[in-house]
Every structure is written in C-alpha cells, then in structure tokens.
Symmetry: C2
Subunit: 342 residues, 2 copies
C-alpha cells in the first residue's frame, strides 16, 4: 500500500509538506495541494480508515434529481441511506455536482481531497466525465441506476425493471389492452435505456406486438407529448406506459386537453411512484420503487465494498400500485373503430 513517503519521493518534496497538503494546511499553495492530491490518486494512495479526532465521511453525489424537499424523488432515498449510515458512525455529506464540476477535478481526486471514504451516486448520466472515470476509479462507490461492468470497487443498485414492466404489461393485458405504447426518456441515461428494453421484453413475454410508431423517447417531455403522443393516439393505442411518473403526468394532462378520458379512452401507467403520483387526476397507476429501501440498500452495498465484499448488483422487487389511471379497454374498441379527437 503506497504511503505519503511515496508521494513525497515522486514529487521530490518532504513528507511533512505532503502531509500538510493532504490535511489542508494553510501554508501550502493550492497548486501544490492539487499536485499532491493528483499524485496520491495516481499511485493509489488511500487515507487510513480511522484518523484520530475525525469522523469518517461518506458522500452522496446528486445530479439531475430533486432531493431537497420531501416531494422530490431523491429525498426518500437519501433518508434511507442516512438512517443506516449515521447510526453506524458515518458523517454523510450530500453534494450536488454538475458536469462542469466533474471536468474540473477527477473523481478520485475529489474524494481524496474531501476525505470521503466512499460515495453513493444518484443521477449521473452516461456522458458525465465521472461516469467514464468510474470504470477504473478506486473510491468505493455505489451507483443508483447506473452499472459499471468491470470495477470491483463499484456496485449498482436499483429496482428490477424487467419485473416492473412485466407487472405493468400483465395488468394492462388482463384489462383487455393489446395495443400498448411506450413514452420514455432519452438515450443519455443508463436507466432509461434499461426501461425501454424492459418494456420491449415484457411485451414479447406477454405475446404482444411492439409497433415502431408506438415507442417514443426523448430527453424532453414536451417532445413526447407534442410529437410522439399524437402518433401513438393515431395508431390507436389503448394504453401507454411511461418511463417515469413526471412523463406520465404530462401525458395524462395532454390527453385530457385533447379530449381523451383517462382511463375510459386511454389507460396510463407511470414508473417510480413519486410522491405526487397519488395526487394526479385521476391518481396514477405506477411501478413503485421503494425509495427508503433503495437508500438502505445503497448503504448496505457501500458498506460491503468498504469491507472488501464486491456486490455487482442489488435489485429490489418492483411493485405495481394500481390507481385510477388504468381501466378496462373501451369495449367498442373490440367491435368497431371510432374517430378519436386528435
């Protein structure tokens, strides 16, 4: 295991200076401190787990997620994480990051600079600089809804998408629906890719046809509601599954505006069971992710990594929460076509 002496030798400076730089002493320049940190990361230096007079710190990285108020999806996950981490003696910092901040400092350097022993990261996209670095990063890290195949120091936790879509498609099929559309997020995120694929597999497993014009995906909700939704309605889908609840809520509103009754003319299903899902009109049938349980699992997986047990993936069961936005397929549908307002 490399020590601060190795850093000192490599940079040709004294051990004392390295120590000062690592401990944020004021008489070390920012430039030198950065060089020390980068060298430390480069040679694989790790801080001792328990340093006198300090509490061990973990970091929750948040991007693209509302986590500050209880109506946000990230809030419950962070609560679940903290509820296990804090009693176990960890300090937990919640750190929002942007792609720009990720460009400014490498992942491992950031973690070493702030003395984080491990991290739980939510909402990183596939194009984020830190996502590429995580393929070889040394900081024990648990990713919510992101998977890195080869790194023994990184775990993936989430909800089993295949099970979720299987339940949703099964529910609709029981209600008589066979022409089912999908509207989901863009290709920039691992989990939207996963959910899209899970929808297609679920349809096939239930013996239903997936039509090309019944799939719409965009980073922008408005593109889905204004462009792909009308195409699907013209294709006479009787139900739409959405990749996440916010999308489902927007689709619900747009359908109502277009004169469709939900669920009489069209059934709609979301994904997440976000806090607002029970309060849409009608309330949203959705695939639940248990947020607090996700946070619990996040801590369990991180704690395992910190104890040299590498979890590859930990997926919770998905659960279908049936509310008012789904109902039997309109019976006339089976008899004869009707012109719908589009």
């Amino acid at each position: 295991m490399p020590t601060i002496i190795d850093i000192a030798d490599k940079l040709g400076i004294s051990k004392g200076t390295v120590s000062k730089a690592l401990n944020n002493a004021e008489d070390v320049s920012e430039t030198l401190r950065k060089r020390v940190l980068e060298t430390a990361v480069e040679i694989g230096y790790e801080r001792n787990r328990a340093r006198k007079g300090t509490t061990d710190k973990l970091c929750v990285i948040v991007e693209n997620l509302n986590h500050k108020d209880p109506t946000g999806f990230g809030y419950g996950i962070i609560m679940g994480f903290k509820k296990l981490a804090i009693p176990a003696g960890w300090d937990v910092d919640v750190v929002p990051v942007t792609p720009e901040e990720q460009k400014a400092m490498s992942y491992d350097t950031f973690m070493l600079a702030h003395e984080y022993k491990g991290a739980f990261a939510m909402g990183l996209t596939l194009t984020d600089p830190w996502m590429s670095e995580l393929k070889t990063a040394r900081t024990p890290t648990v990713l919510y809804d992101n998977y890195v195949p080869d790194n023994m120091r990184v775990s993936y936790i989430g909800v089993n998408s295949d099970e979720g879509f299987d339940l949703a498609v099964g529910h609709l099929k029981k209600l008589g629906h066979t022409r089912i559309g999908y509207l989901g997020g863009g290709e920039g995120s691992y989990v939207t890719q996963l959910r899209h694929d899970a929808f297609i597999r679920a349809m096939k497993n239930h013996g239903l046809e997936v039509k090309k014009n019944c799939i719409g995906r965009s980073y922008f909700i408005s593109e889905c509601t204004n462009k792909f939704l009308p195409i699907q309605l013209r294709s006479r889908v009787t139900a739409i599954i959405c990749g996440y609840d916010l999308m489902a809520q927007a689709v619900l509103t747009q359908c109502m505006d277009l004169g469709y009754r939900v669920p009489e003319d069209l059934s709609i299903i979301g994904f997440d069971d976000a806090p607002f899902a029970a309060y849409t009109n009608p309330p949203l049938t959705t695939i639940r992710q248990n947020q607090e349980a996700l946070g619990n699992c996040g801590f369990y997986a991180l704690n395992s990594l910190l104890n040299q047990t590498a979890i590859s993936m930990l997926l919770l069961r998905a659960e279908l929460i049936t509310r008012g936005s789904t109902g039997p397929v309109r019976t006339w549908e089976l008899a004869r076509p009707r012109k719908l307002p589009v």
Copy 2:
C-alpha cells in the same frame, strides 16, 4: 392477519386444540396436527415473530451440495450465513432435503410445522416440488442460484455469471485463443442454464464464434468427458470453459489421459473456485464465487425480507483466479494443423 381463531372456525374445533396442534402437544393426533397446519398455511396464518421462551429459528435447506466438511462448496456459504444470523439472535438449522421429502409435505407447511420464520435454500433443482411451490409460497425465502420472478417473499442471490464468463473469455482471448468450447451441467438447474447462456453472450461480446459442436451439456460428468469432450477436441478447440470446477477437474484428468498437455495443448477454466481448485495438477484457473460473502448476502437478503424489504436479486462480482491450467494458445496452431491424439 388471520389468527388461530380463524383456523379453529374453519375446522370446527376449539382454539385450544389449534394452539396445542401448532405447539406440538402430545395429546393431539398426527392427522389432526397435519390438518391444522395445512389449514393454517391455506388461510395465510403466520406465527408471531417473538414467542415467549423461544428463540427464533431460520432454516438452511440443502440439496445436491456437499456442506458438511470444509472441502465442500456449501460449507463456506453456510458459515457466512451463520456468522451474521447467530449474533443477530437467530437459531439456524441446516436441513438436507430430498425430492421425496418435498413431496411428502408442502413447503409452507414444513416451515410452519418446524417454526421456521424464514429459509435460505441452496441446490434446489427446477423439477423439485418445492421450487414450483416457491412461486406462491409465503415463507420469506432466499434462494442461492435460483430465481422466482413474481413472489415478493422470495429473493435470489448469487454471483454475476455474465461478468464471470466475460472475464474468462477475455482472459483466453488475450492468450490468443479463439476456438473455445464449453462443457456444463444439464438443463435441470437454473444456474447451469444461466452459465450456458452467459458463455454464449460472452463469446459474442468478444467477437468470437460459438460453434454448435463446441458446446456440451449433461447432468452426468462422464457424458461430457466421454462424448462431448472428444467432439470438441476433434473440432480443434484450444481452450474449454467448464460450468463448474468438478467438471473442469474431470476434463483436465481426461485430457491428460488422452495425451494432451494442459495448458500447452489445451487451456481449461472452471467455475466456483471450489476448495480443491488450487490443488489440481496443474492448479485450475477458475471464476471465483466468494462463498462466505454469498452466505453473508443470503442472510442480508433474508433479513430484508423479514423486514418487508423485498430484494429481487443480489449478485456478487465474479473474480477470475488465474492459475496454471491456462496458457498461451500453442503457437503452431496459428501456423499449421497437427494431428492430435483422440
């Protein structure tokens, strides 16, 4: 939640008699006891978690696995399970079962009769009576290497097979191998199916061709060594990945008997890192499953189920342990064909 009064009402007997039957009183006939237990299961009765004067019990079900001595693969898993369960206040019984015993008493009835609050099951096959029952069973159950899709009371733990085969095929490819065979277990088990599919995916991911006659599968090791191995050797494979270490050891011995040198003429890789894998001649390169960590995860998942958190699957990272049974592809192979002893 149904109570013993509901059982009593249903059977038209007194509450006292039901209580006696559930608590193994001697003045209740075996026939009546069985009827009480079956009715209890039928209506969804569950014992209270903490009954005065008793310790809560968990059950480790074992089938088709050597678990009694430290050289057996199940031994380390059970150790890992017990190391967490016992300090948490659980009694743990290890119960070997046969298909006949499974036929004699339904799964939930067995668990209720023996007052087990939950179970960790290893080695069940797809044709086992209890495997079918687990689709709807109510007893919180964690399955090692078996997956039941729809039951919120059942979890699956194991090692990520895709990662394992990806590492194995990648290792062989780096050594120059392109014609790689597979010899694995029969179709009666979930995990042998999984490993077979993972081999094929890994070959495709690495851009290598999977030839039909380079895949051999049987419940009987001898069928693989005597029938499929010669076919693969005639097809001039330069490496064989085996579905489990015992198969790899048999293949190794058979190849030596046929006059092949390992790894000079043929590289061989196993799966599991069973205790004997380091002591074959040459020692076996293999995909490791960390047994103790598997047991730990088994308890974590079961504890989660008992606390109403349904884990769908928890997969550990696979690790490739490189030993003497793999080496560079024989160089003449690239130049010209040679007649091999078959």
